[in-house]
Symmetry: C2
Subunit: 198 residues, 2 copies
């Protein structure tokens, strides 16, 4: 016996989301089915509104209500620092710290030859032109400390350094609260290389 | 810095779903944001279509495209057996076995005094009238083997037996592939009580 088509369809759509398998998709669908029509409509409208109301900032490529975004249009932010991140949501992770007062630049991905993503698919050229305009800036490379993120950082550093920019990379080392005994060798090596005054 | 309102809204709506916390809601939202507009629209339409296109079968209270549902309107199903389940999706769990050929009756919940759910909130009266029409039926109680499910089964058995129905309960015992050493005492006791010919 087959499930009603509308239910099958929702389960199929939910399964396309990351981390949602068949069982979870079924559970969520039946939950929505049990709930009120208003609840399902609110969720549907929120999903639709997402792509309709959100714009990409033409300056930092982050997501925003308007262009330029709140950060790029804030005169109190330090324009001498640009934090380069992979994805728009990384901006919010740094912002949630409340520490960083500079600007951002979202790459919109990482260089990943296996996935067919090269530097030309990212916003590297735009970052380059920002540095050319004002080479005195510090460019903080905050891509993920994984293989793609590291090679993207290496690539960008190689592009920007000849232009006279000060290019830095976020520190890689032992996470606070971690245990040296269980640290992986690469992290431990990085924590030694990146050691600072005690 | 605050996230765009449309994004906040979707994260809030997703967080209302069971098993979806803030991190997962954020991850899903950013995933949808990165995807095409069409993908988000397909999901939105699937969510909306769910409550618009699906009906409850007036005979078994299961969900269906039409009323009566495919199972209730199938002349090849054995009308002498009614499998009583808690929720509409339990029907699909049994159907996926391909073993059971009788009809279903969905209670739409379980008796749960703590949640203020009594027998009058369930479809017990309708089940009773089905038995009154035809007392020769076997009523298979397939509520969950947890506290609420067990007490609901006990209650229904007490209501239906005086009407002359043959009331059975699905077997509780050790799950296949399980280990006696790690079985909980209640399950082990049930598996002893319910022992059959070897």
């Amino acid at each position: 016996m087959k499930r009603p088509a509308a239910l099958q369809e929702l389960i199929a759509e939910l399964q396309k989301l990351p981390g949602i398998g068949q069982k979870t998709a079924e559970r969520l669908s039946f939950y929505l089915l049990r709930g009120t029509k208003e609840r399902a409509q609110r969720l549907a409208r929120a999903v639709e509104g997402l792509k309709e109301k959100i714009v990409l900032c033409s300056q930092c490529h982050g997501i925003a209500d308007k262009d330029p975004c709140d950060i790029c249009s804030d005169p109190n932010r330090n324009a001498a620092q640009i934090c380069v991140v992979e994805e728009p949501h990384d901006v919010y992770v740094f912002e949630s710290l409340g520490e960083y007062k500079g600007l951002y630049h979202v790459l919109m991905g990482v260089i990943s030859p296996l996935d067919g993503v090269g530097p030309q698919d990212l916003t590297v050229d735009h970052l380059k032109s920002k540095v050319e305009e004002n080479p005195a800036r510090e460019i903080i490379l905050a891509t993920n400390p994984d293989m793609e993120g590291e090679s993207t950082a290496v690539y960008i550093a190689r592009v920007l350094k000849p232009l006279g920019a000060k290019v830095t990379r976020i520190a890689r080392g032992l996470p606070v609260g971690g245990d040296i005994e269980y640290a992986d060798p690469v992290t431990l090596k990085k924590s030694l290389e990146g050691r600072g005054p005690a």
